[in-house]
């Protein structure tokens, strides 16, 4: 058969091809968890949480490499570090203590050593400078000079008899990760593995860049194993591994589901519509909508999150129902109605179907979650484009679709009789519906919400075990629980952070914590620094007293002239955050100081937390200081958002009801159109509640989509089911829509990822229910009775 396409169709096909090329070239899929965190005017903690999720904390990996012996492990670790330093995707690699760090420490702190004498200078410095304390200090220095490490102390003793610089070094050392060092190279606590730490340039959730990097690391180790001719074991820890694994699993699920659903949809079309060409035609408006939405998204957002794309596509998929509806009505219309005439006839129905669908999820566009705003924008743009294509191009294309098989017409007739029960009160829909309404009262208290985002994806237990093994070898700090100081200015934040460190000291002493990493080890507020110097210089005759006390222990009288000169000379400016950032110690700050939009966050990392409530108790009363449990915080945020979204369903339903009332100007048809979706919501909630299924935000999100489709079904019935025949045709189109939707999304219920299962179960069951309840619209309309009377 020769197919001749009209200009609009040709333009559409050219447009589809062009957009497909554009999208395939520009498409950047990411899995960015930060988009699922609130932004904008939300709390500073939310901003902090979002920034942390994509900070160097999540971009850092720990690699543990083991050979037949520790020297070989270290050699392999060194070689791997060298290779990784050449990798453009790797920002930095550390496999030991950098000698530059020590030099930098000296250069920064030695001239400022008298700024860092005490946390409590007014009280402690006078004690430290008392004659007995100075004599004791002289004895200690003498012991140090007698030790084999004398060269360490001798160099600075003349200028620093008080040992101020040694205190700084000691603080920095004490707060380092508890890794073992072998020749200044990091070694696991068990002494078996060489340890490397690296930060990636890309976000941990950037699947496109993390997957190749992870593969390269594995390849590098394999190459080294061959070069060194020894077996090497590599174990890794990093957020990127979980993100990559989850995305790969989701992709795998999607591929399987796509394959299965495509076959199923093709089967449905072959059975009910009798043509795959018809399938292609009805799918074109949806495809156009999806491509337009992606193109717009790429132009304005630059890329997409995987979940945004998945949800958005699902929502745009609703548009397929419109073209199926048009196809079935056109092909089963009596009197040789043209496709254009059919579309004209159906235009208000399809328009209001789309408008009500958009209304049900437009609320998402106003949330503080970037991902949901993206989903909303994506879907609205896609639905609008699909609808426009349905109205303006589909009429030309429908003429290319072959006639429906006879069995379709027969089925429509049967369905007409079945649904239009000629006076029967639709018992087998009405009774379950009534039951669901009653059960809903009992279901509400049984609803169980699971707001833990970590439950959205299934974590590979082997990956998790490996991650925990690696972490236990280096005992790093807790990445999800820490203390945060939020302050409007740098100095307040630093000062408060020092108080945090002070309050945590008792917990460190009694084992409530096994370690902390605090900015306090590196930096004190300018005020505290100046108070130290003031307290030191306030001591009368300090220099002669020091000389005298040390002379008692056998030190030369003129040995400490450099110290005297330092006291007499103009002091350097106190150390600032900027000084630290500009030094080779700068990288240490990235996980401790996080500038927010209006505030500065200073983080104290904790290790070996015995009880988080004890930590909170210890910090009680400190202004702007909070113990931050990221998971609990996000769970709260999601619980709140889920609750808001659930409320939005009610608001959205009211908006939809208002649109329907505005359209029909009578309560009965408006209620008839709305009824199927209301019943779907109630039945699903009943089902989840009584089956004990834990509900999360994604169930609620998918419910929005299903409700949108339920309203469409209601509108189709109310608008086009004027008699038994019309009802049969409409019902057939709904059956095709329902089965295709079910096959596309319902198959997600077998996916391995909980996130997809939640979508699949809600969408699959929901859409079947929408179809099942749709005839009840007629009951509300009262048409069966009228027709029965007419008959």
């Amino acid at each position: 058969m020769r197919i001749s396409l009209k200009p609009r169709s040709l333009a559409l096909l050219a447009g589809i091809a062009g957009m497909a090329v554009f999208c395939s070239l520009q498409m950047q899929l990411e899995s960015n968890v930060t988009k699922f965190m609130p932004d904008g005017g939300g709390s500073e903690l939310a901003a902090l949480s979002r920034q942390l999720a994509d900070s160097e904390l999540t971009r850092t990996m720990i690699l543990a490499i083991r050979g037949p012996s520790l020297p070989i492990s270290l050699e392999a670790g060194e070689a791997l570090a060298a290779r990784l330093r050449e990798n453009d995707e790797v920002k930095w690699v550390r496999n030991g203590v950098d000698p530059m760090e020590i030099e930098s420490l000296y250069e920064l702190y030695f001239p400022r050593r008298h700024y860092f004498l005490s946390d409590d200078p007014e009280h402690e410095i006078p004690l430290r400078l008392s004659t007995p304390a100075l004599v004791e200090r002289a004895r200690a220095l003498k012991r140090e000079l007698a030790s084999p490490g004398a060269f360490l102390f001798k160099r600075i003793a003349a200028a620093d008899p008080l040992g101020a610089f040694a205190d700084v070094v000691s603080r920095v050392r004490d707060e380092r990760p508890t890794l073992r060092l072998e020749g200044n190279r990091f070694v696991s606590l068990d002494g078996d593995y060489a340890i490397l730490m690296l930060a990636t340039r890309a976000s941990a959730f950037d699947h496109g860049r993390q997957v190749p990097l992870l593969a390269e690391i594995r390849r590098d180790v394999d190459d080294l194993s061959r070069e060194l001719e020894v077996p090497l074991t590599l174990e890794q820890s990093g957020t990127n591994r979980f993100a990559a694994d989850a995305q790969s699993a989701i992709r795998g699920d999607v591929y399987v589901v796509c394959g299965l659903s495509f076959l199923g949809v093709a089967l449905v079309f072959m059975t009910l519509v009798g043509s795959l060409r018809a399938f292609v035609i009805v799918f074109l408006p949806t495809l156009t909508g999806i491509l337009v939405a992606i193109s717009v998204g790429l132009i304005f957002f630059g890329g997409f999150d995987g979940l945004t794309l998945a949800f958005g596509t699902v929502l745009i998929g609703v548009a397929t129902d419109y073209s199926v509806h048009a196809l079935v009505h056109h092909r089963l219309a009596t009197g040789g109605e043209t496709a254009s005439a059919t579309l004209r006839r159906l235009r208000p129905t399809l328009f209001y179907g789309a408008i009500t669908t958009i209304a049900s999820f437009v609320g998402l566009a106003f949330t503080s979650f970037p991902a949901f705003r993206e989903i909303s924008t994506f879907s609205i743009v896609g639905l609008a484009a699909s609808l426009a294509t349905t109205f303006f191009v589909l009429p030309e294309l429908l003429d290319l679709a072959p006639p429906l098989p006879r069995r379709a017409r027969r089925m429509a007739e049967r369905l007409g009789g079945l649904g239009h029960g000629v006076g029967r009160p639709l018992l087998w829909q009405g009774v379950p519906a009534a039951l669901c309404v009653v059960l809903f009262v009992f279901a509400v208290p049984r609803i169980r919400w699971v707001d833990d985002m970590s439950a959205w994806t299934r974590i590979d237990p082997e990956l998790l075990a490996e991650d925990q093994r690696v972490r236990s070898r280096v005992t790093p700090f807790d990445t999800s629980r820490f203390v945060v100081v939020l302050a409007d200015d740098e100095q307040t934040a630093i000062a408060m952070n020092s108080r945090v460190r002070e309050r945590l000291e008792p917990l460190l002493d009694d084992g409530g914590l096994t370690g902390v990493r605090s900015l306090h080890a590196l930096l004190w507020s300018e005020d505290l620094q100046r108070r130290n110097l003031r307290a030191l210089l306030a001591e009368e005759d300090l220099y002669p007293r020091v000389v005298a006390a040390f002379a008692k222990e056998g030190f030369q009288a003129d040995a400490f002239e450099p110290f005297g000169e330092a006291l007499a000379s103009e002091p350097p400016a106190p150390l600032t955050l900027a000084d630290l950032r500009d030094s080779s110690l700068g990288p240490l700050l990235s996980s401790m100081v996080i500038p927010l939009d209006r505030q500065l966050a200073v983080i104290t990392h904790l290790r070996g937390i015995e009880s988080i409530s004890r930590v909170a108790q210890a910090l009680d009363g400190l202004e702007g200081v909070r113990v931050f449990e990221q998971r609990a915080f996000l769970n709260d945020v999601y619980a709140e958002f889920r609750s808001t979204t659930a409320e939005q369903i009610v608001v959205g339903s009211l908006l939809v009801a208002a649109i329907l009332l505005a359209r029909y100007r009578r309560l009965r048809p408006a209620l008839a159109a709305l009824l199927p979706s209301i019943l779907v919501a109630l039945t699903l909630i009943d089902g989840f509640a009584f089956l004990g299924t834990g509900l999360n935000l994604l169930h609620v999100m998918t419910l929005i989509m299903v409700l949108g489709m339920g309203v469409d079904y209601g509108i189709f019935i109310v608008d086009t089911a004027h008699g038994r025949t019309d009802f049969g045709v409409t019902f057939l189109s709904l059956l095709v829509s329902c089965l295709t939707t079910f096959l596309v999304f319902g198959t997600l219920a077998v996916a391995s990822q909980p996130v997809l299962r939640a979508v699949g179960t809600t969408a699959g069951v929901g859409i079947l229910l929408a179809f099942f309840y749709s005839p009840l619209a007629l009951l509300v309309l009262g048409r069966p009775g009228e027709e029965a009377r007419r008959a």
Partner: protein, 218 residues
């Protein structure tokens, strides 16, 4: 690694402890080659030492006493027991300093100053004459009453810290070491109770170097 081996062999070669009454002590080596040639095959060395540091900071030299243990080929502990307890532990490339004030050992492996000191010792104790010549200008003098070896670092960087090292012995192992620092300070170490061919048992090795040490392994 070689450091320990050389040191051990070297000390061994220096002969048995002075005053040993068994075999006659070997003659004083007449040449450096002969001295170094005697450094071979030791199983381990222990000795006590007494050290006097003449420092510009102090009126009087600071004294310390302790024990030295060398496990070939690359491990050594320089343990000061008085005043106070402190140690420099060398295991191959790894150098750690431990004292009473901190529970955690200070890793000095990459500390440039520590490295100068350690490398100096290591090359010396290694007994590798060619490596020693590469790093030091050597001046050897053998007499009837003993021998004297003066080492001057060739590297200006090393010389900025250590001006020279003088080792002295009679027919036996090293008796005295004197380190002249660039700033004028000087350290004199006198060894006694030198036990060559000491066989370290595993417990002793663990005590010296820690439970997971590979020192003393073949």
């Amino acid at each position: 690694m070689r450091l320990a081996a050389s040191f051990a062999t070297w000390i061994l070669a220096m002969g048995a402890a002075a005053g040993a009454d068994v075999p006659a002590p070997p003659a004083v080596p007449a040449t450096l080659e002969e001295l170094m040639g005697r450094m071979a095959g030791t199983t381990g060395i222990v000795a006590t030492f007494e050290e006097h540091k003449h420092l510009a900071l102090l009126e009087e030299p600071v004294e310390s006493r302790g024990r030295l243990a060398f496990v070939p080929p690359s491990c050594m502990v320089w343990n000061v027991r008085s005043p106070g307890e402190s140690s420099l532990v060398i295991e191959g490339e790894r150098v750690r300093f431990r004292d009473e004030t901190s529970p955690q050992a200070l890793d000095l492996s990459d500390n440039p100053i520590a490295r100068h000191f350690v490398d100096g010792f290591m090359v010396l104790f290694n007994g590798d004459l060619s490596a020693m010549r590469e790093q030091y200008a050597l001046e050897f003098r053998g007499r009837d009453d003993g021998w004297r070896l003066a080492l001057t670092p060739r590297s200006a960087r090393v010389r900025s810290v250590i001006a020279s090292i003088v080792l002295e012995g009679r027919s036996g192992p090293i008796d005295r070491m004197e380190i002249f620092e660039a700033d004028g300070d000087r350290t004199v170490t006198e060894f006694a109770a030198v036990e060559v061919d000491h066989r370290f048992d595993p417990d002793e090795l663990r005590e010296l170097f820690g439970p997971r040490t590979s020192c003393g392994s073949p």
